[in-house]
């Protein structure tokens, strides 16, 4: 069951990664001219449409992660500590705290995108979207690294 939940956690995280990366790219690299290289094509999306999917996907990933967290605490973290892999424990701690803060920043993220047409809120929108994207990317890579060291059985 834990393995199934971990796979679902990972798969939804991939979808979240794609959505928030598109949105962040659109905020930072958007060009209005047609054509262009891959990055400009990748960024030429209606960024506002990603807001609701990002929120829902974040919540699903967060809930799944919260459900499997106790298994990590007992079956993975203790062996990490016994092996002296404190950096790995620390990596998960960062993932845990950043992910937890991220979920409660979603209301601010939603507000920032509610006024998407207002240029005066662009800085907040950029910084908060970059924060969410950064947390998602960090948590994804950290989770992958830790699972490579010792996965959940």
């Amino acid at each position: 069951m834990i393995t199934l939940l971990l796979i679902l956690h990972g798969l939804t995280a991939v979808a979240l990664l794609g959505a928030v990366s598109h949105q962040a790219a659109s905020l930072f690299f958007r060009q209005t001219t047609p054509g262009g290289a891959f990055v400009s094509r990748y960024a030429r999306v209606d960024a506002g449409r990603f807001t609701v999917p990002v929120i829902w996907l974040y919540l699903v990933v967060f809930v799944l992660g919260s459900v499997i967290y106790p298994a990590y605490r007992v079956d993975v973290r203790i062996p990490f500590e016994e092996l002296g892999l404190l950096w790995a424990v620390g990596l998960f701690e960062i993932k845990e705290h950043a992910g937890g803060i991220g979920v409660f920043v979603l209301p601010l993220y939603a507000v920032a995108w509610r006024s998407a047409g207002d240029p005066s809120t662009l800085t907040d929108r950029r910084m908060i979207t970059a924060f969410i994207a950064g947390v998602v990317w960090f948590d994804f890579i950290a989770g992958h690294l830790l699972n490579n060291i010792r996965g959940l059985a």
Binding site: L91, H97, F104, L106, P107, T123, D124, I128, F131
Partner: protein, 107 residues
């Protein structure tokens, strides 16, 4: 009287409260996954089996403070007071957490 709830204040207060509760080690509860027990407040881990988890309790503590605070602070006030600077709260919270976590990387 019209009751309003400020999402801006909620997120900002959560960030502030989270680092406060984390720094002072004051989760609302601790969860002990081996036996599935929950111990309220500052639990003594010696009387429970296995490791305790404070993370759920930390979020609950901070969420309670943020939830109440978001009813007391006006959203317009937050928007005007922290114009273009609301992003400071989550970045600051993560920076403080990284500071708290430095022993894991500096051993």
């Amino acid at each position: 009287m019209k009751i309003s709830w400020s999402p801006r204040a909620f997120s900002a207060l959560f960030c502030l409260a989270y680092v406060g509760f984390y720094g002072f080690e004051k989760p609302l509860f601790r969860y002990y996954p081996v036996n599935g027990e929950i111990a309220w407040g500052a639990a003594d881990s010696a009387v429970h089996v296995g490791p305790g988890m404070a993370w759920y309790g930390l979020m609950a503590s901070a969420a309670l403070v943020a939830l109440v605070g978001a009813f007391l602070v006006k959203d317009d006030w937050m928007a005007a007071r922290f114009k273009s600077l609301q992003w400071i709260f989550p970045y600051g919270a993560v920076a403080v957490c990284l500071y708290y976590l430095r022993p894991y990387f500096l051993y």
